[in-house]
């Protein structure tokens, strides 16, 4: 028996490759069917924007070829998927999944979205997962929750979009119902806007130099489209302004904001300038009740949270290792019980064979004596097996059963169902 992971992630493959390997939920069953056909008792496919990983139990020799072949078919230009991939086995595979679930292997350390993605992967793959992976994923979700509860690895805003939300939240508190205006059509502003919307804010206006582009984004967000020139007046009404134009100079000037700010009646205005070069004149930040933050400021917030999260890594890794030991003890026990049964049956067969041979020679013995001899042989076998059986069971409880089992198989030539 064994557990293996074959996959790629943000450390081993560029975005362009990861995008091609990403599987939509409806593609997962077919992909797993193809891999399991190559010889594995169960499989789960975890596919996010940062990783595509096949979790497999009892994979046979042909499985890696099937996985890399399946992924390689999505690449262009005769590239091999294996060059971007990695393979992890057994204890390391369990540790890997636990680290993934806890956010320790994420691009943004400690991010919580991965927990939901692991759950979704498990749900989607459930019919093909098998009992071992079923248990493994269940425990991985618990480990992720435990790490987030007992450490501060998920505390704070560790990315620029989440830092934008954190800063706005420090001004307004609850963002539910707060109105946001997006100035420009940059990707970062869209990302930050989606984070704000996730916190309950409403994107009410989208302004861009070209009206058509503004309208395209506004339609996605259920907002109203404006040209840049129309936008300045709305600074008096909106709570949050997200700037991300491609302008080579500042388009949000002191004059424009100062005029609007008078009509706000002392309400704060949060301006998040995500553009490089900056869209907002630094002097705008001097206006009363205007809170202006650029990318550097938000990166400082994110960096601070990231540093705090990094300091929690040892504690989080400690929890992961503890849980790996626990899972491995269970898994070791799972492997040891059938192996012990086979071991005993094998030796009992030898005993039965030898006692039969002996009894053929001792024809003069009475039936009671024959019975006594048979019982003696059984008792002797039990005595011999007692110590190794106990040792193996204890080793399994301590998570070392799998290693001892290998030795047992090799020494006694066992070839049970656990050989893979």
């Amino acid at each position: 028996m064994s557990i293996a992971i074959l996959g790629v992630n943000h450390r081993t493959a560029p975005l362009e490759v990861r995008e091609r390997f990403a599987h939509a939920p409806h593609e997962v069953p077919e992909a797993l069917t193809r891999v399991l056909a190559a010889g594995a008792s169960g499989g789960v496919l975890l596919s996010t924007c940062n990783r595509t990983e096949f979790y497999l139990s009892e994979p046979k020799e042909g499985v890696p070829e099937a996985v890399w072949g399946l992924l390689g078919a999505r690449l262009s230009g005769h590239r091999s998927a294996e060059q971007y991939g990695y393979t992890t086995r057994d204890r390391d595979a369990v540790r890997h999944l636990y680290r993934v679930s806890a956010g320790l292997d994420s691009m943004v350390l400690g991010e919580s979205q991965i927990q939901g993605q692991v759950r979704d992967a498990w749900e989607t793959s459930r019919p093909q997962a098998g009992p071992v992976l079923h248990r493994l994923f269940q425990s991985a979700l618990l480990v992720g929750a435990r790490v987030r509860t007992e450490t501060e690895v998920g505390v704070g805003a560790a990315s620029v979009p989440s830092a934008a939300v954190a800063v706005a939240s420090k001004i307004f508190g609850n963002l539910t119902g707060r109105s946001a205006l997006i100035l420009g059509a940059g990707d970062m502003a869209e990302l930050a806007a989606s984070c704000l919307v996730g916190e309950g804010a409403r994107v009410t206006l989208v302004a861009n130099r070209t009206y058509e582009r503004a309208r395209a984004i506004a339609e996605q967000l259920g907002a109203r489209a404006l040209t840049l020139e129309e936008a300045w007046g709305f600074f008096a009404e909106t709570d949050i302004v997200l700037c991300s134009t491609a302008a080579p100079h500042a388009v949000v000037t002191w004059d424009r904001v100062a005029r609007a700010i008078k009509a706000r009646g002392g309400r704060p205005l949060c301006i998040l300038d995500l553009a490089v070069p900056r869209d907002v004149e630094p002097a705008v930040g001097q206006l009363e009740n205007v809170f202006l933050y650029d990318v550097d400021d938000l990166q400082a917030v994110a960096g601070q949270a990231a540093a705090q999260r990094r300091s929690e890594i040892p504690a989080a890794e400690g929890i992961v290792n503890e849980e790996v030991d626990r899972f491995w003890a269970w898994y070791g026990g799972l492997v040891v019980v059938p192996a012990l049964r086979e071991f005993r049956e094998r030796l009992d067969a030898v005993r039965a064979q030898e006692i039969e041979r002996a009894l053929r020679r001792f024809k003069h013995l009475e039936p009671e004596d024959r019975e006594q001899l048979d019982q003696f042989s059984r008792a002797l076998l039990n005595k011999f097996l007692h110590a190794p059986t106990l040792a193996l069971k204890e080793a399994a409880e301590r998570g070392r059963g799998y290693a001892l089992l290998g030795a047992l198989k090799e020494l006694f030539g066992l070839e049970g169902r656990d050989d893979s």
């Binding site: 501060e152 704070g156 800063v167 939240s169 420090k170 001004i171 307004f172 508190g173 009646g265 002392g266 309400r267 704060p268 930040g285 009363e288 009740n289 809170f291 933050y293 400021d297 400082a300 917030v301 601070q304």
Partner: protein, 263 residues
């Protein structure tokens, strides 16, 4: 017994405040249940102690003010998650209890029997009004600190641990709006009580300070509610108002020293 109950309350307030403010020293936050629970337990012991006291004199008034501050701190924590209010309320409440103990607390059944429910109501409502004015001052101070940090783009402990600006502003607003009617009724009861039982208006010092505090609190409520002041301007108004009330009290007390009477 009185002193022991006060000391026990003081100890519980201190532990609660230390736990609540531990994150400022880099420690991991403690579950809110502990900080709130300890403060509530302290307040219960404090209330038991106060029930045995006459409300006449400086010491009982300070003790009652401390209790009101702790209760308001707990309410701020539960309703607005404004844990940092304890930065001010904890030392203030602790200081008031300590001062009350130094000035001397003694059971006062005689005075209470003589002055009755109206006197207790007058003192309780007036002190509650004062405590709410103090809470508005605390919220204003927190607002200005957080405002400065946000403007200066400093993302340290204040940024992380202080409540959001608008929430602190809301706390200031609520404290002022709730404090004004409490103080108004307290002052009216005082006047009615003086005329009914003493057959004359209250003493000049009491009248001056009571009226002044009422006017100041009334003005801060008026600028917030009628003139729609908010944010920094409202914070400055609250701080100025509270400072004026404290200064006028100190001046009047210096003119008429003694701990037997509040004024």
């Amino acid at each position: 017994m009185l002193v022991n109950l006060h000391l026990a309350a003081l100890a519980l307030y201190t532990v609660s405040a230390v736990l609540a403010l531990a994150p400022f020293a880099g420690a991991r936050p403690v579950a809110r249940g502990w900080t709130v629970g300890l403060a509530v337990l302290g307040a219960v012991l404090h209330a038991i102690a106060l029930s045995q006291l006459s409300f006449a004199g400086v010491a009982p008034a300070l003790s009652l003010l401390a209790l009101c501050l702790v209760v308001l701190q707990v309410c701020s924590e539960l309703l607005l998650r404004a844990t940092t209010v304890a930065l001010f309320t904890a030392p203030l409440a602790g200081g008031f209890v300590g001062l009350a103990l130094l000035l001397g607390l003694a059971p006062g059944a005689e005075e209470r029997a003589g002055r009755g429910v109206w006197f207790i109501l007058h003192v309780s409502l007036s002190v509650l009004g004062l405590a709410l004015l103090a809470l508005a001052f605390i919220a204003a101070a927190l607002y200005l600190v957080q405002f400065r940090e946000l403007k200066a783009k400093r993302f340290g402990q204040v940024f992380q641990l202080f409540p959001p600006l608008e929430r602190i502003d809301h706390l200031n607003h609520v404290a002022l709006v709730a404090g004004f009617p409490a103080l108004t009724i307290g002052v009216l009861i005082a006047i009615g009580y003086a005329i009914r039982y003493a057959g004359k208006m209250p003493d000049a010092a009491q009248l001056v300070w009571g009226s002044f505090t009422w006017v100041v609190l009334g003005w801060t409520v008026w600028v917030r509610v009628a003139r729609h002041w908010a944010g920094r301007r409202a914070a400055f108004a609250s701080i100025a108002g509270f400072a004026a009330v404290v200064l006028v009290y100190a001046a009047l007390k210096l003119a008429q020293p003694g701990v037997q009477r509040f004024l």
